[in-house]
């Protein structure tokens, strides 16, 4: 357990990092959620270890697990949800306005509300060149 749980957290966070480094907005949001899962578990592991005493409910028989990390994680879960919700709605809005879900392109646009084909300056690509046109879309 002392090895398995850290390993699971590492898997969650590593996958989250890889997704956040991707260019599609949705992957970024999902990646952040995965990191949040991992972070919540790691607070528990770091604070209380893998102890399997009784849950901190005083009407059961002790000894009890440490309640403090649990309280902290509870806050973290809720705040994590707030972040995800905000990011999700923001992404939908950004996508509607800009017609792109490419993170880097959103950064590079001169005027994000301007559609890419409305660019006057042909010297300035609306999609960063490293991506190229090989965008395959599936639903």
């Amino acid at each position: 357990m002392a090895i398995l749980l850290p390993l699971l957290v590492a898997v969650l966070i590593g996958a989250g990092v890889y997704l956040v480094l991707s260019r599609a907005l949705i992957r970024l949001i999902i990646g952040l959620s995965m990191i949040a899962y991992g972070a919540n578990l790691s607070i528990l592991l770091a604070g209380a270890g893998t102890a399997q005493d009784a849950p901190p409910l005083l009407n059961t028989q002790g000894p009890y697990n440490d309640p403090l990390p649990q309280a902290l994680i509870l806050t973290a879960i809720v705040i994590g949800f707030g972040t995800t919700a905000l990011l999700l709605v923001l992404s939908v809005r950004a996508y509607q306005a800009t017609r792109t879900d490419h993170v880097q392109e959103l950064v590079e646009r001169l005027d994000p509300l301007e559609a890419p084909d409305a660019y006057a300056d042909p010297e300035r690509p609306s999609v960063s060149p490293e991506v190229g046109p090989d965008v395959e879309g599936t639903r």
């Binding site: 309640p67 879960i77 905000l86 017609r99 950064v107 599936t138």
Partner: protein
């Protein structure tokens, strides 16, 4: 009032007055300068103790600041400090009177005098400071106040450029000084300049870097090659500032440093380095001064040249001659700058080519400026002759090459001094018809300076002013008090002087040809172009670095941060103690499989929907971990949140972009993969290492008092709503803000640039 109280007041009064000056200027206008000149009285009153200082007892004063780290405003007026402080005070007093007439009615007088007072206080603090840290602080303060004064007419592009250049270069030296001061304190074992352990410093392996840093500081401040280029552009300052800062005082701060730290430079080869840098600067400054057509620019390059002369003399260990010239230069250069200010004011021009014969309209200015200019040229019977002759004699001791440089530099000095004088004599030429003599208050500050120039020359010997002042510094700089004589006897020194006069006159007569030759010899680049290229290069580097590390792409920014994290994990991995893998319960093994499977699913998902499902599964897996680790509240909350999140995703599902696979180029994908693995490894190592239960007293407190104080059996809940209720309130506030923002985003109608996007509008 005792001497030490007076010493503190001498430094503090200008700084305090700088706070009052803006208010006073509102009432009195520019005339406030007359009143503010009185801040120098305490410094001049230090002379009541001059006899004890001469006999070797320095005045000392000390106000502790942070005594634990040896930080104190400690001041010490030995002979040299007192001499220099009195120059600052005397010239400062005259400059304040002069500035009261110089500044027009529309100027911001309060600000001007405030800056000038800060500078004066900083300069007095600098020369009188005994604490090295205080010395550094005052040094920087002179740089900053100089920046403010040069940029006083900040609307002009040239002023901005001049101020910035001065700041960049002198602060560069300030940084060098900071390191040098720290080294001095560490090696020398004391923060007091007068209590440093010289033997330890000289024996230290850091001695050479220390001296180099001190020299950089001194050379930047005193405009030596190759740092001189800030001084000419600093002439954008109002003329009183140029006269004060950039001739008599601030630029000599580096000379002060060299003089005070002379004990460090005595060692070969540093004395030779200082000697030749000084001589080269002396030559080059005079060479460039000859080319100038602006009176003020001529004086600026002349100042560079004279500073080189002083550096050479102090560096080569001739403090007597150096101190004599220090006094002379301060006096004649201040007078000349003031004269230029008057000419500029009344003739409306500083162009040497457009002005001549001004003595007809400016008789008093002419009478006052001519002795100063002749002193600069080194003609008897003026002060400059005496110190120039001493300079020649010392250079003769140094060898042939120094003498050659000294004489050729002096010839050019003589020539540009004559050129300066040309504006007063000859046929009258001036484009401004309203040219007129300055008012008495405007002229008055020149009178004592010109009188001093003559007195220093005519009566230099024993117990009169020049010798008396020069001897004042004898004890502290460690030289024998000598006498100054106008007549040094028939020697090589006199012969060189005579040679200088005749060759200088000849050079002046053929100046046009000489300048034509200079123009031909000028390469396409100079110190200024190098400076601007360096500055532009620095800007490019900064821009590139910023863009690379945090600007260019969002992903790169994250890659750098996470890459560093991954490296950190690798760094600590060798110290990790991995526990023996224990038995894993079947339930946990199943949950582990679930999580790994769902993470794999998320990574491989081709559609939005499948990615969402796998993400939910991963969340469900972490819920089960909470169950297994006896955290029922967490499990419940996580489950609830998971459901809400999925609902949220589904409700905006039809507006979401399809899950495109923006294929990363193979190397990028590889790097991202390595970074992800590295971060995962770091997290793993960290979690293996830190599975230490928190201090039990926190846990025990909550468990013991949950029912009694919070009235609940569920300790986690009691913590959230009671013990840490404010936290939860903050959290609720955050959620409320998120809710409002989400609502606003959903309702917001976007400006549409193209009708073609209508079908994708998200409004209902």
């Amino acid at each position: 009032m005792t001497g030490s109280q007076l010493l503190l007041l001498a430094v503090a009064l200008p700084l305090l007055a700088s706070l009052v000056a803006p208010v006073a200027a509102r009432v009195m206008g520019a005339k406030v300068g007359w009143l503010l000149a009185s801040v120098f009285v305490p410094t001049l009153m230090l002379f009541t103790d001059v006899e004890s200082v001469r006999s070797g007892t320095a005045l000392e004063a000390r106000v502790d600041w942070v005594s634990g780290i040896g930080l104190a405003f400690a001041f010490r007026a030995d002979g040299f400090s007192l001499l220099f402080a009195s120059i600052i005070a005397a010239v400062g007093l005259l400059i304040f009177v002069y500035a009261a007439s110089y500044l027009g009615p529309g100027e911001r007088h309060g600000r001007f005098f405030s800056y000038l007072l800060i500078f004066a206080g900083a300069m007095l603090g600098l020369v009188l400071a005994d604490n090295l840290i205080a010395l550094f602080a005052f040094w920087e303060l002179t740089s900053i106040s100089s920046f403010l004064l040069i940029g006083f007419w900040g609307a002009r592009k040239a002023s901005q450029d001049g101020a910035l250049k001065a700041l960049v270069i002198t602060v560069l030296g300030g940084l060098a000084l900071l390191v040098a001061v720290v080294l001095l304190i560490l090696i020398g074992g004391d923060t007091r300049l007068s209590a440093l352990d010289l033997a330890a410093i000289k024996a230290s392996p850091l001695f050479v870097p220390l001296v180099v840093l001190l020299l950089i500081a001194a050379f930047t401040k005193s405009a030596q090659i190759p740092f001189y280029l800030w001084l000419p552009t600093a002439m954008e300052a109002p003329t009183p500032v140029s006269a004060y800062l950039h001739s008599a005082t601030m630029v000599k701060a580096g000379i002060v440093l060299i003089a005070k730290m002379g004990f460090l430079f005595e060692v070969a080869p540093f004395s030779q380095v200082v000697l030749y840098v000084g001589l080269a600067t002396m030559f080059w400054g005079a060479y460039l001064a000859l080319r100038q057509n602006d009176l003020k620019a001529l004086l600026a390059y002349s100042t560079i040249s004279q500073l080189g002369l002083l550096t050479a003399l102090y560096g080569a260990g001739h403090p007597f001659a150096a101190t004599a010239h220090l006094i002379n230069h301060a006096v004649f250069k201040a007078a000349l700058f003031m004269a230029v200010g008057i000419i500029d004011h009344s003739a409306g021009s500083r162009d040497i080519g457009a002005l001549s014969g001004l003595w007809r309209k400016l008789p008093f200015t002419t009478v006052l400026a001519v002795p100063a200019a002749l002193s600069m040229a080194g003609l008897p019977p003026f002060g400059g002759f005496i110190s120039k002759e001493l300079f020649f004699e010392e250079m003769l001791h140094e060898g042939t090459l120094p003498t050659l440089i000294a004489v050729s530099g002096s010839i050019m000095t003589f020539a540009y001094s004559l050129r300066f004088l040309r504006v007063f004599f000859g046929r009258f030429r001036c484009e401004n018809p309203g040219v007129h003599e300055a008012s008495l208050p405007f002229l008055a500050p020149l009178i004592p300076l010109s009188v001093a120039v003559i007195l220093f020359g005519l009566f230099p010997w024993d117990a009169t002013i020049a010798t008396w002042f020069t001897d004042l510094a004898a004890g502290s700089l460690g030289y024998e008090g000598e006498s100054l004589y106008l007549w040094h006897g028939l020697g090589l020194g006199l012969a060189l002087s005579v040679l200088t006069w005749f060759s200088g006159t000849a050079l002046h007569l053929i100046r046009d040809h000489f300048v034509a030759m200079q123009t031909r010899l000028t390469p396409g680049w100079n110190a200024n172009t190098v400076y601007y290229q360096l500055l532009a290069g620095l800007e490019h580097l900064a821009l590139w670095l910023t863009n690379f590390t945090q600007g260019a792409t969002f992903a790169t920014h994250l890659r750098l941060i996470w890459g560093a994290l991954a490296l950190a994990g690798l760094g600590v991995a060798s110290h990790a103690i991995f526990p023996r893998p224990g038995p894993v319960p079947l339930s946990m093994a199943i949950v582990g499989l679930l999580i790994v499977a769902s993470v794999t699913g998320v990574l491989l998902a081709r559609t939005r929907f499948s990615a969402l499902i796998f993400m939910g599964l991963a969340g469900f897996g972490s819920t089960l971990v909470f169950v297994l680790l006896r955290a029922p509240d967490l499990a419940l909350t996580q489950l609830l949140i998971e459901v809400v999140t999925v609902i949220l995703f589904l409700s905006v599902f039809r507006f979401l972009p399809v899950l495109k696979r923006y294929s990363r180029p193979a190397p990028v994908a590889l790097i991202d993969g390595i970074i992800s693995l590295g971060v995962a490894f770091t997290v793993f190592v960290a979690l293996v290492m830190v599975q230490v239960p928190l201090a039990p007293r926190i846990k025990d407190y909550f468990l013991a008092f949950s029912k009694e104080l919070g009235g609940g059996y569920n300790v986690v809940n009691v913590i959230l709503v009671d013990f840490r209720g404010y936290d939860t309130m903050g959290e609720i506030t955050v959620l409320a803000i998120v809710a409002v923002t989400v609502l606003a985003l959903i309702r917001l109608r976007f400006k549409r640039s193209q009708a073609g996007h209508e079908e994708n509008r998200g409004e209902r």
